[in-house]
Symmetry: C2
Subunit: 152 residues, 2 copies
DNA sequence: TACTGATAGTCAGCATACTGAGCAATATTC
DNA sequence: GAATATTGCTCAGTATGCTGACTATCAGTA
C-alpha cells in the first residue's frame, strides 16, 4: 500500500497542523489570543478599510459562511467594527478599531517568529523553494475549492 | 506589510484547503462518501488489524480526542468494528469489516487521482520536491503539535 | 497490598470549514 | 416598470481539530 508520506494530501494536512500549533504557541506566549484565521482577517481589514465580508473572504480565500463567525469574534474582541453599508444595504463594511491596530502592531514579532519556526527544518533556500512550489500548486488549484482567492 | 503569499502558514492552509476539496470531489464522483481523515484512518486500520485508538492516532498524527469521532463514523457506516480489548479493558481494538475492505479497494483509483490533481500545476520533479520539502519540515516540527506522529 | 502515577478513552466547549438553504436587497432583462 | 437573476449575508447541520477535564484501568512501587 502507498505510504501516507507519499500522499501530498496527507503531507498538506500535517504541515498545516504544525503551522497552526506553532502560530498559537508563539502568539499565546506573547500574551495574545488570536487564531491564524483571525489574524489574517484582521490584517486584511486593516489594509482594506471599509471592505465588505465577501471581498474580505475573497482576499484570503475563506468561505463566505466561515467569515461570518470569524468577524463575529473579531467584533466581540473589540478589534473590528461591522456596520451596514450605505451604498448597498445587503453589505457590511468592516473597519479595524484602534485596539485592533494595537494588537496587530504588537503581535507582529510573534507572527514572524512563528513563520520561521514552522520552517526550521529547512535551509533558507529550501524554505523559499517550498513556498514557491506551494504558491504554484495553489495557483493551479485555486478554483477547485469552494473558497478560491479573488484578486481585487 | 508582508504579503500572505510570503507566509508559509497561509500557504499551508490554502494547499490543505484545495487538497481536501479535490479529495472530496474525486471520491464523491466515484460514488463514495468518505473524508480524507476517514480514509487515512480506515487504511491504517486495515494495515494494522486489532490496533487500539491511541496507536491509530499516533500512526496518522490525529489527536486522540479527534479519533473518537472519526472511528464513531467509520463504525456507523459499517466499515470498522470497535470492540473492547481482552488484555486491556481501557483499550478498544479496531478491525476493518468486509464492507470496509471493499470500499477501500474500490476507492483507491479516486484517491490516487486526487493526489495527482492537487499537484497538477507542478511538473513531476516539482511535485517530488514539494513532497520532500514538506516531509522535511514536518519531521522537524513533529513534536510542535499536540498530535505528533508516533512510529510503531 | 495500598498508593501513586500513567494511560485509554470520552466528553464539553470552542474555532475553523464546508453543504445547502433561505432572506433581503440589488442588477439585469424584457 | 415588472419579472428574473444575482449578490451579500446568515443559519442549520456536519466534520475536523484542539484544550482541558474526567473516569476507568493498568503498572510500578513503597
Amino acid at each position: 500500500m502507498k505510504d501516507n508520506n507519499d500522499m501530498p494530501g496527507h503531507l498538506a494536512r500535517r504541515f498545516q497542523q504544525i503551522a497552526v500549533a506553532v502560530f498559537l504557541a508563539e502568539v499565546g506566549e506573547a500574551g495574545f489570543d488570536l487564531t491564524p484565521v483571525q489574524y489574517a482577517a484582521l490584517a486584511t481589514i486593516k489594509a482594506n478599510p471599509g471592505l465588505d465580508q465577501v471581498t474580505l473572504a475573497g482576499l484570503i480565500a475563506y468561505d463566505r459562511t466561515t467569515i461570518t463567525g470569524v468577524v463575529d469574534r473579531l467584533v466581540q474582541k473589540g478589534l473590528t467594527e461591522r456596520r451596514a453599508s450605505s451604498r448597498d444595504r445587503r453589505a457590511r463594511e468592516l473597519e479595524i478599531t484602534d485596539a485592533g491596530r494595537r494588537v496587530l502592531r504588537k503581535i507582529t514579532p510573534a507572527v514572524e517568529s512563528a513563520q520561521q519556526i514552522m520552517l526550521r527544518g529547512l535551509s533558507t533556500k529550501e524554505g523559499e523553494d517550498l513556498m514557491r512550489l506551494l504558491r504554484k500548486a495553489i495557483a493551479a488549484g485555486n478554483d477547485l475549492s469552494r473558497a478560491p482567492l479573488r484578486e481585487p
